[in-house]
């Protein structure tokens, strides 16, 4: 059985970045995308004492993930910031919420150029599919 990787953790973020670069669906749907995206947990208190950060950045370019950055500075930002509660991120990673749907219902708050983001909405679906391939255990379920 494959070892499960803890979410959120630096190891999980790095694994995610690698799986995005290896995803044929993401490679083709993310082609043309240029900007880093920050993923933020809106209720970091649920991670208190367990995880030392509440955000991470993926440096995405042309359908490839070129690197990651773990963020604990609340002032840090990125051209695009997607914010959701910890429980909603879990649902998205677990495939229980469609990411497009989550953005439409406000479960994911979007900051950045929305017009551009909408043009890459199929990349968002591919990103979630890549996340779902990671064998994940969650920090609150240990």
């Amino acid at each position: 059985m494959t070892d499960e990787i803890l979410f959120p953790s630096e190891e999980w973020v790095k694994e995610y970045c690698q799986r995005l670069s290896n995803s044929a669906d993401y490679n083709k749907s993310g082609k043309g995308w240029k900007d880093p995206i920050m993923f933020r947990i809106s209720d970091p208190d649920v991670l208190k004492g367990k995880v030392g950060f509440d955000s991470f950045i993926l440096n995405l370019k042309d359908g490839i993930c070129e690197g990651t950055e773990i963020v604990s500075d609340p002032a840090k930002t990125a051209p695009y910031v997607l914010t959701a509660s910890y429980s909603n991120w879990k649902k998205i990673i677990g495939g229980k919420i469609n990411p497009t749907q989550a953005m439409l219902t406000g479960q994911i708050k979007v900051k950045g150029n929305v017009t551009t983001l909408l043009r890459y909405a199929s990349a968002a679906i591919a990103m979630v599919k890549a996340a779902q391939t990671i064998p994940t255990r969650y920090v609150d379920e240990q």
Binding site: K28, S29, K31, G32, N98, T100, T105, K109, I125
Partner: protein, 371 residues
């Protein structure tokens, strides 16, 4: 989708339009702006005046197809601050989209229409009432607006743009085959795309499946102006609109938008052209294939291949092309444009709802193979 937005009321009755003032009074609307186009106004001038009897109303009747954003803004500025309770859109998709845009600007004159997106509430200060005069666009019940700017078509959307009330009066629909067919095909494609969409639910599937059944049975008779068939087509178009507005449209729309904007082909014809290739492409995914097979069973067909053949026969009967060459577009000119078409389609937000991720190469191949 986990959110369903629908009009508060839908009236469906032949000639119900003639009682519109009573309906609007009943909703507390005493002062309204009527938005329409010159063709509709010329045809229904007396009827509109009679239907508005007793209300305080102004009219704007110079809407053109695919409204340009600057034009919408200049028109909206003329009607701002007049204290309307509602905006009544009488027309096809362009008129309804225009009225939605004017409602946004009247409610917030500082807003940039380009910035409308599904994530930021609009808080309209007027109630939108739609009276669709074609059976197909679904704009009368949907959250979308299609406008144009210097870079081409802009597909914008927000749930606050779902009209408050929809008046379905089939007597307002045209008799011309050239309008009935592409709008009917548009509704047919909305239905299939809603079903294929990765955010579809049994709620939207039920509406879309019934719409498909109604369109297959009624479009040919509607072309012959059979009254009952036109009634059914009007209802089917709205059901398809309610379906796709609460799930999504997908690949055929991305391909059709791109093709239509480059070769200047009507929206319904363009999306219809790419319905069968989209069904074939998406049916590689098992879950989507099963959804198409469920549609087939609903109309007493035993397999996906037979469903595709049935659609081909249906399109032939009503005069909807299935290949680009049927539109007398030069092969070399078309193939030369396929790269550009694929790039445009790739950036269409409708692809977000497609169940199978389509990259630029997939899109180019789909265009090339459909000549």
């Amino acid at each position: 989708m986990s959110l369903y937005e629908l009009p508060r009321k839908i009236y469906f009755q032949r000639d119900i339009f003639d009682d519109l003032s009573q309906i609007l009074f009943g909703e507390g609307m005493n002062s309204v702006l009527v938005v329409t186009d010159n063709n509709i106004y010329a045809k229904w001038k007396e009827r509109i005046e009679k239907a508005m009897d007793g209300l305080k109303w102004d009219i704007f009747s110079d809407v053109f197809p695919e409204p340009e954003i600057g034009y919408v803004e200049s028109v909206a500025s003329k009607f701002s601050g007049k204290g309307y309770d509602g905006i009544v859109a009488i027309g096809g998709g362009s008129v309804i989209d225009f009225a939605k845009s004017v409602a946004v600007k009247i409610s917030d004159p500082d807003i940039d229409l380009n910035s409308i997106n599904p994530f930021t509430p609009l808080k309209l200060k007027v109630k939108l009432v739609s009276v669709p005069t074609t059976s197909g666009t679904g704009s009368d019940v949907s959250f979308g607006i299609v406008l144009t700017d210097s870079e081409g078509k802009l597909a914008l959307g927000n749930y606050d743009l779902v009209p408050y009330m929809d008046i379905l009066d089939p007597s307002m629909t045209p008799n011309e085959r050239g309008i009935i067919v592409p709008t009917g095909i548009d509704a047919f494609v909305h239905s299939f795309e809603s079903i294929a969409s990765n955010t579809s639910t049994p709620f939207t599937d039920a509406l879309a499946e019934k719409a498909i059944e109604l369109i297959l049975k009624n479009l040919e008779l509607a072309i012959k102006n059979e009254e009952r068939a036109k009634d059914n087509m009007h209802l089917a178009a709205t059901m398809a609109g309610m379906a796709f507005s609460n799930s999504g449209t997908a690949l055929a729309h991305a391909l059709g938008h791109s093709f239509g904007s480059v070769f200047h082909v009507t929206h319904g014809t363009s999306v219809g052209l790419f319905l069968i290739p989209s069904i074939r492409f998406n049916s590689r995914e098992e879950e989507t294939r099963k959804k198409y097979e469920a549609v087939a069973r609903k109309i007493s067909i035993d397999s996906l291949d037979s469903l595709i053949q049935e659609i081909e026969r249906f399109f032939k009967r009503v005069g909807q092309p299935t290949k680009v060459r049927e539109l007398n577009i030069n092969r070399e000119e078309y193939i030369k444009e396929c790269d550009h078409l694929a790039k445009l389609a790739l950036r269409d937000s409708e692809l977000a709802f497609n169940p199978v991720v389509a990259g630029e190469d997939d899109l180019r191949t789909l265009f090339q193979e459909n000549y």
